[in-house]
Amino acid sequence: MSEREAYVGQPRPRREDHRLLAGLARYVDDIKVTGALHAAFLRSPHGHARIVSIDVTAALELPGVVTVVTGEDLAEDVTDLTVAPPIEGLRPTSMPVMPVDRVRFQGDLVACVVAADRYVAEEAMERIVVEYAELPAVSDMFAALRDDSVLVDEALGTNLVARRVHRAGDPEARLAAAPRVIEAEFHQQRQTHAPIETRGCIAQWDPGREHLTLVIGSQVPHPLRTQIVRRLGLRDSQVSVSSPDVGGSFGQKIALYREELAICALARRLGRPVRWKEDRMENLLAACHAREQWCRTRAAVDDTGRILGLTLEMVEDFGAYCFYPANYISEVVGIILTAQYGIADYGYEIRVALTNKCGVGPMRAPMAMASWVMEGTLDVIARRLGLDPAEVRRRNMLADQALPYAMPGGETLLDVNCAETMETALDEIGYAAHRPHDDGRYLYGLGLCNVVESTTYGSRFYKNSGIGGSGHEAARIIVEPDGTVSASVGMAAAGQGYETTFAQVVADGVGVRPDDVAVTLGHSDTSPYGMGSRGGRGATAGGGALYLCAAEVRAHLLRLAAHRLGLNATDGLGLRDGRIVWVRAGGSEETGLDVADLARTAYFDPLALPEGMRPGLEFYRTYDPPPMTFSNSTHACRVRIARETGRLEILDYLVVENCGTVINPLVVHGQQAGAVAMGLSGTLLENVVYDQAGRNLSATFADYTIATVADIPAIRIIARATPSSRTPLGLKGMAEGGVMGAIGAVANAVNDALSVVGAQVTCLPLTPMRLHAAIHDGIGRAAQGQEG
């Protein structure tokens, strides 16, 4: 065991699991607050309507009702949310905490009842009389972009909330001059995060200290606090955000939503604690949706399948309100689309539409579609030219010596081994022996999806892309007087295993045992201000900041130890499992000192410290990761589709992944399998459906179908990791690539199988009915791969 990295890499069981599995975790609803009032929101039954009047008299008369407020009432207490970063092509948007005169989607807020309990609140809600004047709704993003469309946000004068164009080289010229132009289309359906724990919060206002405490399951306690103080006209010091255990987030718990803000405002107004728990129907109707995107690629190719130029057209449905800059999600698809393929001439045009549907946000792998679109395009090229799909990939893939490579989307690709993961996957899946075929009962196909996963975004990325924001993270480590190491970052856990992995990183950085490291997360008062949990940044940004901070702790402790041992320098001293040792060739020798001894000195005997060393042992360190770190992987699967039912079976599924240094293989495996499962569920089943009037037809789990463990096949995961050259410990990050790869691998396998009967599918989800239609009715036949 080397002195460093003794614990990083070990498959240590997750320390948080005991409380999570034994029912000892504390989620928002487990936290009792004496005297708390319960809120419930009255929501619009219409997709689009003008609010003519709201009569709350009868609701207020119900015993137990404390107050009923409308958008007009709350407007005095809360400023509007304006999303207007200086991004070319992005129109600024603004929204109040609750709509005042118009509702824009089914589930939009109309009024809030605060009562003694939720039962009374819901009873009161039924007594509110709202007169609506229904307006025509637009629930289709393509219709929304037509000139004659109904306007979702009249202040904008258009539904085109963002249009972004990027060009590297001259793709149009390449398309015009190319021997062949091959077009492919991809349509991903609207989905939602469906965390086990829905949204919810408890707000308490302390009128004496003029201080707000918000308990909320959040991925980003500090950025959330910033939002709250801005909207409520408070100062940072007046708000504490505490995120307890969180039952899943997947991107749904980043934004400050209107409901939570209203609860804060009501707690302040009433001077009493107010709590709100979203029910499942509210969560499916009105929390946050994701992924509804359409893409068309046009590839200029030669007869060998080499891509000479590529353009991407993309349309995204952003729903009725912008909680994020509207280019934020689709832009990343544009930036990383070309992945590990050498395409110099590339351009994208992205259009983002507002519609009368729930607003959208990032969902685990917001850029998930990129891999399917790129890899699906390569498959279409191969089919059109009668070439082997793997060979077409090889012909376009960057050679290892071409790295680092300036991607045409603007980022720099490096530290990836895409050829190695693909060749390994081809061997493991039995690619050489595979031919799509039909045995009369089933169609058989094999799908490949190479993934380049953008994991950690540094501040430079945000600056370069014009998306705005910071990508740094902050760590704080305190060596307590008894020698315990308390570590914290600005991230909030929702099941990722942070407490285990961060303890391993800190243990190695300082030179103590993981069991001596306490990891505390999720409280804005006790954690340093960080950017929180999103994307795949946990390991690199959070782990990286902690590791760098821990190295400072170690250096400080060794200086103190040297002084205690009467030495002038720390040469030859080491810290191992909390003990100060002499590092010798082939072993170490005890000095008799340990971290607890040093801590006692630092806190209780400051005069024994070396000259210039201040008492106490608290350390703070920030870290800004590289603009973008990349993990890479290849997903491969074999499927069969029953001719009779259209049902898809996954016969073999494997991932060959390079996610850099692995802190804890158990945790990484869990994340990889979970991401693939989420990707499969989205590819095969999940679907948020609206009718033309903007009514949501999928607001219960009977209608919004999610795969269960019984629907997910065994997933083989094969590691081919290489460390990052630019981050502490060689960390890269992971946990989203599985979603990206699953979509592409399964969709490509399905189209491989369907090629036997001359059919193709371009729309998700790949339900039995859709596949059955493709096989028997020729729907989608020849729709893919037209030569332009």
């Binding site: 039912t645 259209g646 179908t705 059955h772």
Partner: protein, 293 residues
Amino acid sequence: MKPAPFSYHRLQTVAELVGLKARLGDAAVILAGGQSLVPMLTLRLSRPEHVIDVNDIVEMDHILPEQDGLRIGALVRHQHVAESAVVATHLPLLRRMAGGIGNYAVRQRGTIGGSLVLADPAAHMPLAALLFDARLVLRSARGVRTAAYRDLYRSPLNCALDAGEVVVSVCFPRQPEAMRAVAEMFHVTAGSFPALICAVRLVADAQGGLAGLTIVVAAGAVRPPVMEGMFDDLRGVRPDAALRGEVVRRVVAHMGGLIGQDAAGRYLLSVLEGRMAMCLAGAAGDTKEGAGA
């Protein structure tokens, strides 16, 4: 998602239940496993004044082999049916169908009586009761009567009990030696309601010809039809591939008239065609054809 206010009653005996039901009439609903009622209450689709919780009435929780068939108490959980050795002996198909309901947690709560009274058109238990021509034992302040489930199940979500009646048990008639019953359940995801169930009950005569054929199909949102008389002309014929093909044609044509020919309807009919053939092969003892079941 909180129910509208109601009064809650928790009873210990059938006698108490019948008395209270007589007093409260339609203002009261019965809470057994709650797998359908509780969501209906919380969605406020059901707004009863009274909810009568029958989960303590142990006298309705029994599975008894009787002279003329199998009696199952209304409070018997689906999981109990799925694990019951008695059911396995007398009606193996019923056991298999119970095991196909929802998931373990649902099966541990949902009851046979609740399922039959709810009469969800996609559910397993109503289909089994239709197939085997089960009779419900109904009690009210007026006394006890039995009635064929086929007569009570009028339309989806409409099991026509008389005022003040409660189901105390269900009787599945004893089946002849030469009876084979096979069902195919088509689920899109594990644990969801099946998109399609088709079930066949075939009785052979001494020469191996058809003595009786009953087919019930749950598909679309219609009350599962019991198809029996439409096969009368086939009596005595051996259920070979040709005959089975004819039966499949009749069933698909009949269902086509009921569930419509839109994209979803056409899909279901297409799946039905294959599943039906599989079921019939299984029921006819043609293991080669039925192997994929």
